[in-house]
């Protein structure tokens, strides 16, 4: 850009005497060019577009039932009773319990299984290492919908439909790939010499893994754990097909039971949705900073 050169030039020279002489216009690049204005407006508009649905959800969750059909955007009064009512009148409590068990259980399972596997894959050059990593990648590509009948058949034969364990196991299996992938990248970036030093000092290999590598890999472990938890919390397809009774369905499926054939209880629906989203927001706040490193470790490499 031709206009960019002068502003870039003034940058390093500022401070000191020059600043006072040029008065308020001294800040580099603070001149408002039309293009900047347009771009800023577009950016804000896009951000608003991205945020509006959340607002819609919260507003509807607080909308009194008799105002549901109104065209006014903001309700006249906020109705917190929706939250209480939805809790009392539906199987939401059971659904929440199922979701908590499934998300918690599968996260623990994924951690127990993926951590040793990732450690081994990162540290050892064994036969079939590439194949193992490829398998991990390829299985991540299978759509659950296409595997749905096969899985249904498996659990049907085991007589495990509607069991919480079914959802724990399937969620764990589908999230394993991502966890192994992230953790392998993380552990691989920790110098092996640290472990070797500990082993020279008399620690066993296992001890070195627990006391040296694991604490250093902790950010990666936390990222993997929270990603797994969020994705198991949000899972929909398995919950829909592998559990058919309302009480044994997870929250995401239970919420959709508010959508009837003819009527939709929007206020209840969105009150329940808010309940489902809040834990995710809190967890996401914890790993927001690690998201980039987690994703790049997982996919850019």
């Amino acid at each position: 850009m031709a206009t960019a050169t002068p502003t870039a030039g003034t940058g390093p020279v500022k401070e000191g005497s020059a600043g006072s002489a040029r008065g308020p216009a001294r800040k580099p690049g603070r001149t408002f060019r039309p293009r900047t204005l347009v771009l800023t407006a577009v950016a804000w508009l896009l951000a608003a577009l991205f945020l509006a649905p959340y607002l819609e959800m919260i507003v509807t969750a607080l909308r009194p039932a008799d105002e549901l059909r109104d065209r006014t955007y903001l309700p006249d009064k906020l109705d917190w009773a929706n939250f209480v009512d939805v809790w009392r009148e539906s199987s939401l409590g059971d659904n929440l319990q199922v979701t908590l068990l499934v998300a918690g259980g599968s996260t623990i399972l994924v951690l127990l299984v993926s951590l040793p596997a990732a450690y081994y894959t990162a540290r050892m050059r064994f036969k079939g290492r590439k194949w193992f990593l490829l398998l991990v990648l390829v299985t991540q590509m299978f759509q659950p919908t296409a595997l749905l009948v096969g899985l249904y058949r498996e659990f049907y034969q085991l007589d495990m439909l509607n069991s919480v364990w079914t959802l724990i196991l399937t969620n764990a299996a589908f999230n394993l790939a991502f966890a192994v992938w992230i953790l392998t990248a993380y552990i691989g970036s920790i110098p092996q010499e640290l472990e070797e030093a500990a082993m020279v000092d008399g620690t066993s290999r296992f001890g070195a893994m627990i006391k040296v590598t694991l604490p250093l890999a902790l950010p990666g472990v936390v990222t993997a754990v929270i990603f797994t938890f969020i994705s198991a919390w949000n899972e929909f397809v398995m919950g829909l097909t592998l559990s058919t009774e309302p009480e044994s369905q997870p929250l995401t499926v239970g919420i959709n039971n508010f959508i009837g054939a003819y009527t939709v209880q929007w206020n209840y629906l969105f009150a329940a949705s808010v309940v489902a989203i809040v834990p995710v927001i809190i967890l996401f706040a914890f790993i927001e900073r690690h998201v980039v490193s987690g994703l790049t470790a997982g996919s850019v490499k």
């Binding site: 690049g29 771009l39 065209r71 919908t145 009948v149 299996a173 929909f236």
Partner: protein
């Protein structure tokens, strides 16, 4: 090796950690106690294993494989049972007439013939293929544009060759956030946004005075429903690519941008000549991933779109599944899997370029 005399030769591969074993006693003539110690060593930590056994070469092999078995067997079993096995079961049952009962008769390619003649299947496939082709293009283009704005769209300040816009991390979080929401919730929320009576979209159009543009977004026209669905999928995935691509762009060394700036390249030239070629690998990976996600637009369509307006293949599969036509449903699933594999191969092939190292 058994039988070989090793007394004079020091093995070079193994570091000497104790008294060198003079000669390997063949397994059969080991005293029973040692055999037991060996067996126990599989599970015990080294400190409980007698030295005699620990210094045996066979113990080292055992130690190595113990790690493999202990560390890799669980994930492999998991994959085998929950991913690989359903996959092969799906292929097998697609050749049967299994309807949920105890019997599943082998019927050859009947399900596939039925699919070939099934008008409704082809209708759903047409929508799915449109999603597969169009959605990745929209989402990736938008993702790349936003990521470029975030990493390089800012004013040139302090002599830097590139700089991000003000508040870039805020935008990243805002765009990324749908990615952490359940797709089921996203569908529910957008159903309300699109709602023709009390929806946010029509409300906003009315408020700005564009009443004429108000639509029945989902329940009416096929094209409009398809377009609305595409918009929701793009909305929910674009943030993932913004974060991914801005990470990839951030990894490009600054001096390349400086060199481009010195050569007089503007932002657009820089983008097409520097940024895009350097992140191409990431774009291709993202393209494959997004295509597969779009092909599987199950939850969004099932929850959000009324049945008569639009049907995609996964939803069609699910309906057959609910009706108990399990054999037919798996056959559709197999076609879906095959489609996503073909798509992956095609993108890998047409997206191939010389890898640029930096």
């Amino acid at each position: 090796m058994p039988g070989e005399d090793q007394s004079g030769v020091k093995t070079r591969k193994e570091p000497v950690t104790g008294p060198v074993t003079q000669k390997m006693v063949p397994w059969r003539s080991l005293p029973l106690g040692d055999k037991l110690a060996f067996t126990a060593a599989v599970l015990l930590p080294p400190r409980f294993t007698p030295e005699r056994v620990r210094y045996d070469r066979r113990y080292r092999t055992l130690d190595k494989y113990r790690f493999i078995v202990g560390f890799l067997i669980l994930p492999l079993v998991f994959y085998a049972v929950f991913v690989i096995s359903p996959f092969f079961q799906a292929i097998y049952y697609s050749f049967t007439d299994w309807a949920g009962g105890a019997t599943a008769n082998f019927v050859g390619g009947d399900n596939y013939v039925k699919m070939w003649n099934d008008e409704k299947f082809w209708d759903s496939l047409r929508s799915s293929l449109l999603l597969l082709v169009v959605v990745p293009l929209i989402t990736l283009a938008l993702g790349i544009f936003l990521a470029y704005m975030i990493t390089a769209g800012g004013r040139h300040r302090r002599g830097e060759a590139i700089s991000g816009v003000f508040g870039s991390s805020f935008y990243k979080v805002v765009y990324f956030f749908p990615q952490v929401l359940s797709i089921a919730l996203i569908a529910v929320v957008w159903q309300q946004v699109y709602s023709s009576r009390s929806g946010l979209l029509n409300g906003a159009l009315g408020a700005v005075g564009l009443d004429g543009l108000e639509q029945r977004w989902l329940g009416g026209d096929y094209k409009l429903a398809l377009f609305s669905t595409m918009a929701v999928i793009a909305w929910s995935f674009v943030g993932f690519y913004v974060v991914l691509f801005s990470a990839a762009m951030g990894a490009i060394p600054k001096d390349i941008y400086e060199a481009a700036l010195l050569d007089g390249a503007g932002r657009t030239t820089t983008f097409f000549r520097v940024t895009l070629p350097l992140i191409w690998d990431t774009v291709r990976t993202g393209w494959i991933y997004m295509g597969i996600q779009a092909l599987d637009a199950f939850a969004v369509v099932l929850i959000m779109v009324p049945k008569h307006a639009l049907k995609v293949t996964p939803v069609y599969l699910y309906e057959r599944f609910r009706e108990g036509q399990f054999g037919y449903a798996t056959a559709i699933g197999v076609v879906l899997l095959a489609l996503s594999m073909v798509f992956t191969l095609v993108v890998m092939r047409i997206g191939r370029r010389d890898r640029i190292e930096y």
